[in-house]
């Protein structure tokens, strides 16, 4: 039955996330934007709370993200994917950088959830895993990865440099993408769970960034770093027919989550701008004439419609993952729409509110800086459009480059 409201059964979880966002994140939002690289110690207590929730089976997080098995006759489910998206929407209404710094909620955790074996899931339970994909010479083009993993007895030896690792300093494990054979292309790219402190693994530097400054972004160098073979996620075989599937599968689950982050941030900016307009005597009413109302209100309504569009595309992608429906196309649609929406919404709100929007009186200028990363990481706008185009047009990567 067609019904697009937030499922009632997640009300308690959403409420909890709202409390965290409002009571924990917002009060320290500006502090850690200014104190880049300082560890937000307030999050430790929060992490304990979240762990408790997860243990009770009521929580959601990166570790719960996985595609349900397809079963056409199964009852419709609203499960871990929907749950996580809804929770993160609320947390990112509070602060995106802090949400990214939540212990044990890393992108690497999502990768482990998506492709690890049952034994590995057990072994890595409770870890905080960052994700190391990007290299100085390769961004969106993951197939051009130069980091190598060469088999040596019971180990793999990893060599290479990884940049832009979210939570790379604070996490305790890193999921590293490396090639078993750089001449074999994407099929040889595998992911490895590497514990922090492994010999030959060195934190080189932390980035200074446009936004999400509360979140650490690290560069890590691997020099003859040994990893046990059982830390390889998925199959060790280089199967050129199956190619990239295993590692890319993670993204079908994480793109809706990142889109959800944009929904939360976008809502923060829209709500605050509406409050400021109301304070200035502009009452916002959806029933007023769209042509003769103040331009600011008309624009705000237009932005809110864009926001709602992105939100529904995001919930659809999560709903599909929960119900075993392949959602690569829909996940990319959600990510593309949410990424450009949040950039437009936050930048327009910053402009519309003048000095209040641009100066540090308000968080609007910070939100406009934070927003940009959401149209870049987990696949840029352009990569999402490429994925959507290939699927819709039925083209492969050599036809549509």
């Amino acid at each position: 039955m067609i019904q697009l409201e937030q499922p009632r059964k997640f009300k308690a979880l959403i409420n909890q996330a709202q409390q965290v966002a409002n009571e924990v994140f917002r009060p320290i939002s500006r502090k850690y934007d200014k104190a880049e690289h300082a560890y937000p110690k307030e999050l430790d207590m929060l992490a304990a709370l979240l762990d408790g929730l997860n243990a009770s089976g009521r929580g959601a997080g990166a570790a719960g993200l996985a595609q349900s098995s397809g079963d056409a006759d199964a009852e419709i489910r609203n499960g871990a994917n929907m749950n996580t998206v809804l929770g993160l929407i609320e947390l990112c209404w509070g602060d995106v950088g802090l949400a990214l710094s939540l212990p044990r909620q890393g992108l690497g955790n999502a990768a482990i959830a998506a492709v690890a074996s049952a034994e590995q899931k057990k072994r890595f339970a409770g870890c905080w895993a960052g994700m190391a994909i990007t290299e100085p010479g390769c961004g969106s083009d993951s197939a051009a990865i130069r980091t190598t993993a060469i088999r040596d007895g019971d180990d793999y030896i990893i060599n290479g440099e990884k940049i832009f690792i979210t939570a790379g300093d604070r996490c305790d494990h890193v999921v590293v993408w490396a090639s078993l054979d750089p001449s074999a292309g994407r099929a040889a790219i595998k992911s490895f769970v590497v514990p922090k402190g492994s010999e030959g693994m060195e934190l080189v530097r932390l980035e200074h960034k446009l936004g999400i400054r509360a979140s650490d972004t690290a560069t890590i160098r691997f020099s003859n770093c040994r990893v046990p073979a059982e830390n390889l996620l998925g199959s060790p075989e280089v199967d050129t027919r199956k190619g990239f599937g295993g590692v890319m599968q993670t993204f079908d689950n994480t793109r809706p989550v990142v889109a959800g982050m944009a929904i939360g941030l976008g809502r923060a900016a829209l709500e605050r701008t509406r409050e400021l307009l109301n304070r200035a005597g502009m009452s916002t009413d959806y029933g007023t004439n769209r042509w003769t109302q103040p331009a600011a209100l008309a624009e705000l309504t237009r932005l809110e419609a864009e926001w709602e569009a992105a939100r529904l595309l995001t919930l659809r992608a999560a709903w599909m993952a929960d119900n075993g429906k392949p959602n690569s196309l829909e996940a990319s649609m959600a990510k593309a729409k949410a990424g450009r929406m949040v950039t437009e919404v936050t930048l327009t709100c910053a402009e519309m509110c003048g000095a209040l929007g641009y100066a540090e009186d308000e968080l609007l200028e910070k939100w406009a800086r934070d927003a940009k990363i959401l149209d870049i990481f987990e696949g840029t706008q352009q990569i999402q459009l490429l994925i959507v185009a290939r699927r819709v047009l039925g083209l492969n990567s050599s036809q549509l480059k």
Partner: protein, 437 residues
């Protein structure tokens, strides 16, 4: 024996019964899906025999109006249509594909759908969906989202003819939801016959920066009558309608809906030729001191706003269907058409335009569904309707424009339907009446 209260499966069955007797079913190749659905429904605990003799039952004494109840919500986020909705989608999609699309150009030149189209549409029994069972119709629950899904299918075929075909359905919906017992007996029962009356919902006034919430058409109270003056524009099927619901501003009650029959003195109908929707029988309806009784008032002030929003959502649904048609057409074209030695689709500048069409069509659909579904659940849906309408008006037009752009010169000539869709899709931002979900 008390007959069982018809549930959703019963509703599907009664609909199927109508299908089963129709030649259209075979013509459209619907026999198989219909039989499959019948099989599914018959697995339920009750037999179909009980239902056979309750169709078309005339109601003689209706003391209180029949109201359709909202379907209970499952509480979960879900995008799966019910079996009955899926069946309606299937039936109306085929109708759109095999009949509406091929006759679109013809309907444009005649400014209305052909007799054959009307016959086949009536055989589908669209108006039946609005009329409660007790009044001889097929509806056991109120479902505006079903109306939206039907409009989406028909809009994929041809928006012009679709708006004409759906105009009487909208009036029936309004009577079912808001009509008094007297109004229902007088008018609504007429919609259960083989050919429902031509009826239309007249909203758009002649003014710049229009606001449908403040009609320019005025009704002045005079004793127990109202005197209506003004002019309504771009009314789907308005050229031919025998029964109108008109949005007026009253001097006593604020904006209201009124029922006016075509024979009322001072009412004149003309063609209202426009940029698009030319197959829709668009009418310009003048009211020159038209007198109606107090009993012509339909619903209250909340009804008025609901009607406008439900009209907007029907245009959104039509726009979703038509935009999907643009997407389907450009997808084929850019893959087939070669330039510089390879298909156009191999260029990102072209392919990304297609991506964006696909993304925005899906977003339009989800926003429209959400607003309609909120209405079905009895939740306030005005905000969602406004957002959906704004979004669809903007993005459907972008899609219409890019549809022509992607076909280049071929898009500009009438050999392909994209130039018609460009003209039709501009109507989404202009039409705020005409249809009611």
């Amino acid at each position: 024996m008390n007959k069982p209260k018809r549930d959703i499966q019963g509703f599907g069955l009664s609909l199927l019964n109508r299908f089963a007797g129709s030649e259209t079913v075979d013509k459209l190749g619907l026999r198989k899906p219909a039989e499959k659905a019948l099989y599914t429904a018959s697995k339920a605990s009750f037999g179909a025999a009980n239902l056979a003799n309750q169709q078309f039952r005339a109601v003689r004494n209706l003391l209180t109006p029949e109201r359709l109840q909202n379907a209970p919500s499952g509480g979960l986020f879900d995008l799966t249509p019910t079996d009955e909705q899926a069946m309606m989608q299937e039936a109306t999609r085929r109708f759109a594909d095999e009949l509406l699309r091929p006759s679109a150009a013809d309907a444009e030149s005649h400014r209305e759908p052909s007799e054959e189209i009307w016959e086949q549409a009536n055989a589908l029994g669209l108006a039946q969906l609005a009329v409660p069972e007790k009044l001889g119709g097929a509806a056991s629950e109120r479902s505006v989202i079903t109306s939206g899904l039907v409009a989406e299918s028909l809009g994929w075929g041809d928006m012009g003819q679709a708006c004409a075909l759906l105009a009487p359905v909208g009036v029936a919906n309004a009577l079912a939801n808001w009509g008094s017992a007297e109004q229902q007996m007088k008018y609504l029962t007429a919609f259960t016959g083989e050919s429902p009356p031509d009826a239309a919902f007249a909203v758009v006034d002649t003014e710049v920066t229009p606001d449908p919430m403040r009609p320019r058409c005025l009704a002045r109270q005079d004793g127990d009558q109202w005197v209506i003056n003004g002019e309504k524009r771009l009314v789907p099927l308005g050229r031919f309608a025998e029964l109108f619901i008109v949005s007026v501003d009253t001097d006593k009650l604020g904006p209201r809906l009124m029922l006016v029959e075509k024979g009322a003195e001072g009412l004149t109908r003309h063609a209202d030729d426009s940029m698009g929707l030319r197959g829709g029988g668009l009418g310009r309806v003048r009211f020159d001191k038209v007198r109606v009784d107090n009993s012509a008032l339909l619903g209250d002030d909340k009804t008025f706003a609901d009607a406008i929003h439900l009209a907007r959502l029907m245009w959104c649904s039509l726009a979703v269907g038509c935009s999907q048609a643009v997407l389907d057409t450009v997808t084929t074209y850019v893959n087939d058409r070669k330039a510089f030695g390879e298909p156009l689709s191999h260029r990102q500048a072209v392919a990304f335009m297609v991506s964006n069409i696909a993304i925005e069509v899906d977003a339009m659909r989800l926003m429209t569904w959400r607003a309609l579904s909120r209405c079905d659940q009895g939740l306030d849906f005005h905000r969602e309707a406004v957002l959906a309408h704004r979004f669809c008006a903007e993005h459907a037009m972008d899609i219409g424009s890019n549809g022509v752009q992607l076909l280049g010169g071929h898009g500009f000539v009438t050999e392909f339907p994209v130039e018609r869709w460009y003209r039709d899709l501009r109507a989404v931002g202009v039409q705020e009446g005409g249809l009611i979900a």
